[in-house]
């Protein structure tokens, strides 16, 4: 018990004294996770919308398939991306292997099923009457679609947060594609795995505390944002005069 407590004290010391290694790993983790979430949202929110609003053959099956991919193991995604971007792979010429760019690509693939299917679910959660009401009030198709999207804003934002959570806590892709190179592709999760195996429990614990704190901060920020959205039109909605 005393040993755990001593580790915890040392971990807090590392955070408070702004240990350069801790700072570097945290900063890279945040950068990669934010870029992943942004890129994932940029691609998958419109795609999810397109799938929801358009009718096509096999749509139901396609949505089931995306939902099945929710639980795809990260190492499988890592392996697929590895095959794609390794030197002999079809995208090998991009030189993304063992780079933060490669990690962002891999993690974007990983968060794709979550973002896409939760966007579809968010839109499915909006009453069909919302669209009809918009149309009956004179909205054209685009305006009616945007009205439905705005009604789903809270659920869509929650989906984005979940995507961020998946990206920041991911190990498999980060390890296989990034290679866990110190100061270049080492992120919180891979650093924790490595330092634990090397017996540096204090550093692992410090990084673990940061990882949990980051998730907590993002959750709190989202909570505040959702309150803002509900109360005054928020980031996506028009403000009340």
């Amino acid at each position: 018990m005393n040993e755990i407590l001593a580790c915890l004290v040392r971990a807090i010391e590392l955070i408070v004294t702004l240990n350069p290694e801790v700072l570097g790993v945290t900063s890279l983790t945040l950068t990669i996770s934010i870029f992943t979430t942004f890129l994932g949202a940029l691609i998958n929110l419109p795609l999810g919308g397109l799938i929801y609003f358009r009718s096509f053959r096999g749509k139901g099956l396609f949505i089931h398939l995306i939902r099945t991919l929710y639980s795809i193991p990260t190492v499988v995604v890592g392996l697929l991306i590895f095959l794609l971007i390794s030197r002999s792979g079809p995208l090998g010429f991009l030189g993304l292997m063992f780079t933060p760019g490669g990690m962002i690509l891999g993690q974007t693939v990983l968060v794709t099923p979550i973002l896409m299917s939760l966007t579809i679910s968010a839109l499915e959660g909006v009453s069909r009457q919302v669209r009809e009401t918009a149309i009956s009030l004179g909205a054209n198709e685009y305006q009616a679609i945007m009205t439905v999207v705005k009604e789903a804003r809270q659920a869509i934002l929650a989906a984005v947060l979940l995507g961020f959570g998946r990206a920041i806590s991911e190990v498999g892709v980060a390890m296989m594609i990034g290679g866990n190179i110190r100061g270049y592709t080492r992120v919180l999760t891979t650093a924790i795995a490595l330092n634990t195996s090397m017996g540096d429990i204090e550093l692992s614990l410090a990084l673990g505390i940061i990882l949990i704190s980051l998730s907590l901060i993002v959750n709190l920020l989202l909570g505040l944002l959702l309150v803002g959205i509900k109360g005054q039109g928020g980031i996506m909605g028009p403000k009340v005069r």
Partner: protein, 220 residues
């Protein structure tokens, strides 16, 4: 004007050979039991559904033959209030000004005045989804009339209102007609129909049974 209108859902006939017309400044009462096809008829006129037979003409245009862009333009000359209106999850102000916004009208000074007309003058900043059924119905009516529609389609507009408020809303509907709008009022409320409608049509099992003055067709 509606001519020989019919609508099937999976082979089940909801409307058959319905013909009627309404002029500007006129209130046409549409009465009939539940399931008679009143709501379907309003939805067809509002172009929310396609008829399986017949035609709808509005302002000289045959709506059943219009392109999607033309349908939007025509719908902007109408407004419909649903029996159970849905509120957008923003403020009452946002809901009432919605029709203006999508038409690109920036001047929204009429919102407050219209809200006052429906007895909700102090509700502009309230969250619309927290309103009671009656309040939501009044916001839905305000949302519809603010665009000054030529044709107003009302589906049970006083269903959730107390008699006093129903009278206020009735007066408001009459003012719309006096202002030149054609109004089709689907209702179970015979008293309301008697008070507001210039003509009344009775719809039973999707068929038009009678047309005439409310006192005549309702046998009152």
């Amino acid at each position: 004007m509606v001519q020989g209108l019919g609508k099937d859902y999976d082979g089940s006939e909801v409307l058959k050979d319905v013909s009627l017309s309404v002029d500007r400044g006129e209130v046409l009462g549409l009465v009939g039991p539940t399931g008679a096809g009143k709501t379907t008829l309003l939805r067809l006129i509002n172009l929310l559904e396609r008829p399986t037979a017949g035609s709808i003409t509005f302002g000289g245009l045959k709506l059943t033959e219009c392109s999607d862009a033309e349908k939007v333009a025509i719908r902007r000359r109408m407004a419909m209030v649903f029996q159970k209106p849905v509120m957008f999850s923003y403020s009452v102000y946002y809901n009432v000004s919605y029709g203006l916004k999508i038409r690109g009208i920036k001047d929204k000074c009429e919102v407050e005045a219209v809200l006052k007309e429906v007895g909700l003058g102090s509700y502009a900043h309230r969250e619309a989804t927290t309103l009671s059924g009656g309040e939501a119905q009044r916001v839905a009516l305000a949302r519809a009339i603010i665009t000054k529609p030529e044709l107003l389609l009302l589906d049970e507009p006083t269903a959730n209102l107390d008699p006093k408020m129903a009278k206020i809303i009735g007066d408001l509907i009459l003012r719309q007609a006096d202002g030149g709008a054609a109004v089709i009022l689907a209702t179970h409320d015979m008293g309301l129909c008697l008070r507001l409608s210039d003509r009344t049509v009775v719809l039973v099992n999707g068929r038009l049974l009678a047309t005439g003055r409310a006192e005549e067709v309702l046998g009152l």
